[in-house]
Chain length 392, copies 2
DNA sequence: TTTGTAAGGAAGGTCTACTAACAAACATGT
DNA sequence: ACATGTTTGTTAGTAGACCTTCCTTACAAA
């Protein structure tokens, strides 16, 4: 074997260079914030607990937990709930609990072109106030103003301290809340989060609607840590969860699967249809809610089922490589149940199992998303919980 | 809109429950370890630097960096290189550098069924010693003993302190170095890392060979942080990098794309062939090195190119959903260049661009892997660098 | 009543990184 | 030649964060 051209050896003289990622230093206070999030996360997921419970769960000592809880009590995020009712051996525990109804989150969903939906929510996702504005056709700065006004009204109507604002929008959105590209609102490089923070004086988080849905399903809907949530509405999108974290991708466009080609000339029983994007045979031409309705309109239930199953098989074909490459635990379908939760979903499941090796397809679950139409709002709330409190 | 069945609201009484991941507490010493890795990582990627350089790069103060460097000097991981040659304004800087040739890593590659390849490497991936054992047919415990003996010999032949052992093996391997399933060696649930650590008294890291290749390409080969490295050899595998981290997947089987179905009855110009896995039309039946050689044997160069292009199109079809879902920056092909680096690679690239939306396919790169046949060994070394020094 | 167990708090110690201040060593301008 | 400004690396002191150890409180079980 010739080793002279070893590219590793060739680099020995000069160091191994790479575009350095902004790896952040860690200060003691960051450790503190992390452990604080651990405590909050425990209370969020497990409910009222004693300090000793939290200590066991987090691995921190009781002393440290007491200290953190004291700080949280002072902040008002946590409340003393008195002694635990059930009594075991030893000194009875005093419970502390997250004051989830004593803090509010303002959330906005921009998925609907005609109407902007907003709400005030508690930390556990209960809707306290609901508002909407009809902003048909508003684009550019006008659309930003629309969102601004809605947020302001919601903040005013919140009866508790508002922890932050979460916004779910279609389009390509970067981690800093800048809308890189959202054709439906005419936003290109719009610094939405920064602008709203300036106006409202509150932390604002913005993310793609398919991604927020995925977050919502993970936090409130029991989705697995390695999952794909396919959202079917006017278009088709997806949120990807890998190891419990949202995948954003190189250009912040992860999950944009609506315009993957799935219908070819040689696809049995199908003809590629033109897509709004200018190409043909895109997933959206067969799987979007309008496309599904159009394709099943006027058919007998049997024929409609067959049609839906056919679409399910196409989706399954497309997802099989994704499921295999990431070894996903779950594929969730979010959208109209009358279209998705039947032969379509079953066809996706069987196709995925047929087209992947057993170790991949064996314990893969294909199910409907657990959350209803408020999933995007709930996910927007998770943006805030995650960003401000570290709860995931 | 009916909101009564809101599953979020329904959960308000009980807390939001989920399978808790082992979220680790962070102690001051962990912060220290993290910052230490930051210093080492800077020296690894940027080469000899002054303490002030490191401080600017990491965001830590010069005082802290001096302290960390002092500790690393005491450990012998870093050396004082004297004053910088070029002189600028101000006090001349004293350079410190990673003593990459003064420490060794022992690496083993188990991809070859007939021979086990091993090497002693420096921290920058230079091969110092090369050894191999012919272990045709060794399985189960005998195969473990084979690896054990090879490691021991390599450790003995290492002329510098050995930081750890890295092993690259086909099969499904969990994060703790347990081989869940490796049919070629007859390993099922084999705790390889633990066993070797016990015998050698050194830190041992084990990972799937496609994954180690991906790590090697990332660290030594300049691969992007969001990339897929497709490895073509006896079979077909892949390593997935998302945000610079290896994806392991729900059942540690991420990257197992060799048995995704890519050939159907309706695939133009192709007939599904039976696969060793018992199904038909798997990616391995067309893309493995033997399959490619068989399909192109005896053909004119033009016909061979057409055949390779056809396989490239099939691969492109399979990868388009993956590239879209994750918004990957790069797809790397690792394997025989005479088969892959031509019409096949070009077909993959054009197919991917044709079948994805512009925002996804626009700046996607499809190229050959930068590292040669030692890529797996280099990746195994990265396992150790990453696990012991925190360098990625 | 005694014993054992568990919860929570107080005191003291160690570790970590920061700020402030300074000396050393050099380039540059007058 | 000499003062000035710049950059480096170190010393000293401070604040934060978590730990270990010990104590008190409160209850169940024997």
């Amino acid at each position: 074997m010739s080793r002279t051209s070893n590219p590793i050896a060739a680099r020995t003289a000069s160091p191994v260079q790479r575009q350095l990622r902004p790896t952040a230093k860690v200060l003691p206070e960051h450790a503190r914030a992390h452990n604080r999030s651990l405590v909050l996360g425990h209370l969020f997921h497990e409910g009222p607990s004693s300090r000793a419970d939290i200590a066991r769960s987090t691995g921190l000592t009781r002393v440290t937990v007491s200290d953190l809880v004291a700080a949280l009590l002072a902040e008002g995020l946590v409340a003393d709930l008195g002694v635990r009712a059930e009594s075991r051996v030893g000194k009875p525990a005093t419970l502390v609990g997250l004051r989830s109804s004593e803090h509010h989150v303002v959330v906005v969903d921009l998925a609907d072109d005609a109407t902007v939906h907003g709400a005030v929510m508690t930390l556990v996702g209960d809707v306290v106030v609901r508002e909407h504005v009809t902003g048909a056709g508003a684009t550019g700065t006008a659309a930003v103003t629309l969102v601004e006004d809605l947020c302001r009204r919601l903040v005013e109507r919140a009866s508790r301290p508002v922890i932050g604002v979460g916004i779910s929008s279609p389009g390509v959105i970067d981690a800093g809340g800048r809308v890189v590209e959202a054709p439906n609102r005419g936003w290109y490089g719009e610094p939405l989060a920064a602008r709203l923070t300036g106006v409202l004086g509150l932390p604002v988080h913005v993310a793609n609607d398919a991604n927020t849905r995925a977050l919502g399903e993970y936090t409130y809907g029991g989705a697995a840590a390695d999952a794909m949530i396919v959202t079917v509405g006017q278009g088709v999108g997806a949120g990807m969860l890998v190891d419990g974290a949202l995948v954003r991708g190189r250009g912040h466009a992860a999950g944009e699967i609506g315009h993957v080609t799935v219908v070819d000339e040689d696809t049995a029983g199908e003809t590629p249809e033109p897509c709004a994007c200018g190409r043909t045979g895109c997933l959206e031409t067969v799987l979007s809610a309008p496309a599904l309705r159009r394709r099943t309109a006027g058919l007998t239930p049997q024929d409609a089922d067959a049609t839906l199953a056919s679409v399910g098989r196409m989706l399954g074909r497309a997802l099989a490589p994704v499921v295999s490459a990431l070894n996903l635990a779950e594929v969730l379908l979010s959208g109209p149940p009358e279209l998705l939760d039947g032969s379509l979903r079953e066809a996706v499941a069987t196709t995925l199992r047929d087209r992947t090796m057993p170790v991949i397809g064996h314990d893969l679950r294909v199910r409907m998303a657990a959350l209803d139409e408020d999933a995007a709002l709930a996910g927007a709330a998770v943006l805030v919980l995650s960003g401000q409190l570290g709860i995931t």
